[in-house]
């Protein structure tokens, strides 16, 4: 009985903490501006759309990986899938949720674009170091 209670409470709080954590990652990255170059590559001009997420992730996978970014990107990927699930279930019953999930999915795309920006500049730095050597 006690274990069942702890399980239910922990799962509910886990979901809450996970959503807040992902939103804090997004909030920190949303203050950074995208370079014109990345804007061109991703097609994101001012606001990002959730529809572009998979495409930006594919671009991200083309760049050399940075170990320190990996977990953040995985967390946002999981959050994006959670939003897709909400969008196709609860949001159909609650129309106001639809707009919220769509805006959140757009923020996930922007986070991925910022990660892409970092990976591109990281690759450039590595190339410059190799050229110097």
């Amino acid at each position: 009985m006690m274990a069942a209670f702890i399980l239910v409470v922990s799962l509910v709080i886990f979901l809450q903490f996970f959503v807040f954590y992902c939103r804090s990652l997004i909030a920190v990255s949303s203050k950074q501006a995208l370079s014109p170059e990345v804007q061109d590559v991703t097609g994101i001009q001012r606001t990002a759309s959730g529809e572009d997420f998979n495409r930006v992730m594919q671009l991200l996978q083309l760049c050399p990986e940075r170990p320190e970014d990996r977990k953040g990107i995985q967390a946002i990927g999981a959050y994006f899938h959670l939003l897709n699930f909400l969008s196709s279930t609860v949001a159909r019953l609650v129309p106001s949720m639809k707009a919220w999930t769509e805006s959140e999915r757009g923020h996930c795309t922007y986070f991925a674009a910022i990660a892409l920006e970092r990976r591109i500049s990281f690759s450039r730095d590595m190339l410059a170091q190799q050229m110097d050597a």
Partner: protein, 212 residues
């Protein structure tokens, strides 16, 4: 994570978080030694694993108190926090003593899961209370907020996993989940130290809000 904190000159400010991570690393080395010496099915390894886990969780309570003291650092309540930490240490010591006294023949049963589940759940409740305090006090330090949220994800995932193992001890797949969950905290904290500076700010109320 300790290396990241050192690189960002944050080792002393988050001393207990770093001490916890350091001791967690040492315990992992110790576990490997015991595992390679006695084998995974041995009683020695089971004892070492669960009691070191319980001690590490208590260590994590002190990391949590470190976060509490940072949230309350302008309110001059260090005395209360010190009293709280003494009570916490006394309470956990008493609890651990009671556990050890009656547990010698029960380590192979569900008891070990029950103990870990309870310890993680207490940690979860304390973290949730801290998150409530952050929202109430409108704390804006992004690094502190992310450290607390990372800890909340870790505690809740472990408490749920141990509760599940306690409810369904025959599902062996659950034994492999704990090592995966163990990566959450070092990864989240290392990311925070590397990516979020001490000066960055964000509004926690915005994280909790769902637009209507």
């Amino acid at each position: 994570m300790v290396v990241c904190a050192l690189r960002r000159h944050s080792f002393r400010r988050y001393l207990f978080l770093n001490l916890y991570m350091g001791s967690s690393f040492l315990v992992s080395v110790g576990r490997y030694q015991v595992l390679s010496h006695y084998g995974i099915g041995s009683r020695e390894y089971a004892y070492f694993y669960f009691y070191s886990d319980a001690l590490l969780t208590i260590g994590l309570y002190f990391a949590l108190l470190n976060l509490y003291s940072l949230v309350f650092d302008e309110m001059k309540v260090e005395g209360y926090l010190r009293l709280g930490s003494i009570l916490l240490l006394g309470g956990t010591a008493w609890f651990s003593y009671a556990v050890v006294q009656q547990s010698s023949s029960r380590i192979t049963s569900n008891f070990a899961y029950e103990l870990s589940q309870n310890l993680y759940f207490v940690g979860l409740v304390l973290t949730y209370a801290l998150w409530g305090t952050i929202l109430k006090l409108r704390e804006t330090r992004a690094r502190l907020i992310q450290l607390v949220l990372g800890l909340g994800v870790y505690f809740s995932a472990f408490a749920a996993n141990y509760a599940l193992q306690n409810l369904y001890p025959n599902i062996t797949a659950l034994h492999y989940v704990a090592p995966l969950l163990g990566c959450i905290l070092p990864a989240a904290w290392a990311y925070t130290f590397l990516r979020v500076s001490e000066e960055q700010r964000l509004a926690p109320a915005r994280l909790a809000a769902v637009s209507r």
